[in-house]
């Protein structure tokens, strides 16, 4: 089948890539664009490891076709740090031990990045339901919730 050229913004940079219509966004990000921060856990839209920001919303990139991103904007974990400075969420995950093996972390960061824009001052319960699409096998979630809460506090406008 003929390949198609798609163009979209990835972490605020324009990219063009030749793809097959059947390719999933996560595969194109990792294998063609060499952005391997976005992880593949289940490939069945359950675990959330592949979460990216797509046109201002969190999506599971294992369940979006790359061709659907044509003309859109995608933000991945590679785009969180600015000029070598970690995003407050990345800093908080580090300080609060919000990760152990780190496999779920890119998805956790990208979901919490969007979640805190939807709800800048969440309660613990709101964090838990807002992050309910992301699974972690290691931490037991306590420190993830803590990290999101402390990042939220840091990110409050002074």
């Amino acid at each position: 089948m003929a390949k198609k050229l798609i163009a979209f913004k990835l972490n605020n940079q324009p990219v063009e890539v030749l793809i097959e219509a059947r390719e999933l966004l996560v595969h194109v990000l990792r294998e063609q664009l060499a952005q391997t921060g976005t992880h593949i856990g289940c490939e069945t839209s359950h675990c959330g490891a592949c979460t990216v920001d797509f046109n201002g919303e969190s999506v599971k990139s294992c369940t979006v076709l790359a061709i659907q991103a044509n003309g859109g904007e995608v933000l991945t974990v590679e785009g969180l740090a600015q000029n070598g400075t970690l995003h407050p969420l990345q800093e908080a995950f580090m300080q609060d031990h919000g990760l152990q093996c780190g496999f779920c972390t890119p998805g956790m960061l990208m979901r919490s990045f969007r979640f805190l824009q939807e709800n800048p001052d969440p309660t613990e319960e709101e964090i838990r339901s807002g992050m309910a699409g992301n699974l972690c096998r290691c931490t037991g979630y306590q420190n993830i919730v803590k990290a999101v809460k402390s990042a939220a506090a840091k990110m409050q406008p002074a």
């Binding site: 089948m1 595969h27 069945t44 959330g48 999506v59 659907q68 992050m131």
Partner: protein
């Protein structure tokens, strides 16, 4: 896991999408949010040669008030339903159901139209549509027609939709004083389909229930109305003893498939419990209105 090969189409209008469906009657397929279809394509349970994306078509988006009804575009996502001030105010049942579907990321893609068209007995909107007595608006080469929800869900993956038709919108009545709803879904964890679910909409005149619909999820080949308990409660002043009798009739109406969520007997009991809770919630809300 990658879907099989297909040609991708992104029509700009509903009419273009219908034309594409007509051009590929045997191997064309609509993709909405893709959160039921793409998983099936990865497993080769679905292998369309032409995939027609309608997710971005503007005519299929948005929620408007039409007299005493609300019109919900088929490509409205679960997240958009939850955020809609109009739906929260005029049909909060849909918000409650949408919040119990999947997880935030899935709800950003999954659409109400896709959930209704898909035909999985575990989908949650079909029972909500049955309980609300909704109309499903569909369009094909011959134009538009409206199918009552009670005539729409025919079996597992079988609906009244013709292969060349697209669901364009859903029309639901705005809530009126004296009307109450209940939505209860038992699930094992976030992101799981219902072990059993029951949606109830009823209307009280004084203390008498003069209208009631009880619809069940994932305890039969498709969502369905439990007519025996409805008939029992209709025209009565509903009390605890009557709710118990209705619950037994709910149990008798179920024919669930056994799976990892439980055996048939367990699921029947859970459907009855969900129905008890939904009847009570609906009564309380109808009285509070």
């Amino acid at each position: 896991m990658i879907p099989g090969e297909f040609e991708y189409h992104a029509p700009a209008t509903v009419d273009d999408a219908i034309q594409l469906l007509a051009q590929h009657p045997d191997d064309g397929k609509i993709i909405a949010g893709g959160h039921s279809l793409l998983p099936m394509m990865k497993l080769r349970f679905a292998e369309p040669a032409h995939l027609i994306n309608i997710f971005e078509i503007p005519e299929l988006k948005g929620i408007t008030e039409e007299g005493s009804m609300l019109r919900i575009g088929a490509m409205t996502t679960e997240s958009e339903l939850i955020r809609s001030a109009l739906i929260n105010q005029k049909c909060p049942l849909i918000v409650e159901a949408a919040k119990m579907i999947a997880d935030p990321q899935v709800r950003n893609r999954g659409t109400i139209g896709g959930d209704i068209a898909h035909g999985d007995p575990g989908n949650d909107h079909p029972a909500v549509m049955l309980a609300l007595d909704a109309d499903i608006v569909v369009k094909g080469p011959q134009g538009e027609r409206t199918i009552a929800a009670k005539d729409f869900f025919l079996g597992t993956y079988v609906t009244a939709l013709e292969p060349n038709e697209i669901i364009t919108a859903i029309r639901v009545p705005a809530s009126t004083p004296g009307t109450g709803y209940g939505f209860n879904k038992l699930k094992r964890k976030t992101g799981d389909f219902a072990t059993a679910g029951a949606t109830v909409v009823l209307h009280l005149k004084g203390n008498t229930c003069d209208e009631i619909r009880i619809a069940l999820t994932n305890v039969g080949p498709t969502a369905f109305r439990a007519e025996a308990p409805e008939a029992l409660l209709q025209g009565r002043e509903i009390d605890d003893a009557l709710i118990e009798q209705a619950a037994i009739k709910v149990m008798e109406s179920c024919a669930p498939a056994e799976d990892l969520r439980g055996d048939a007997e367990y699921k029947c009991h859970m459907a009855a419990e969900m129905a008890r809770r939904s009847i009570r919630d609906a009564l309380a809300r109808a009285k509070g209105n």
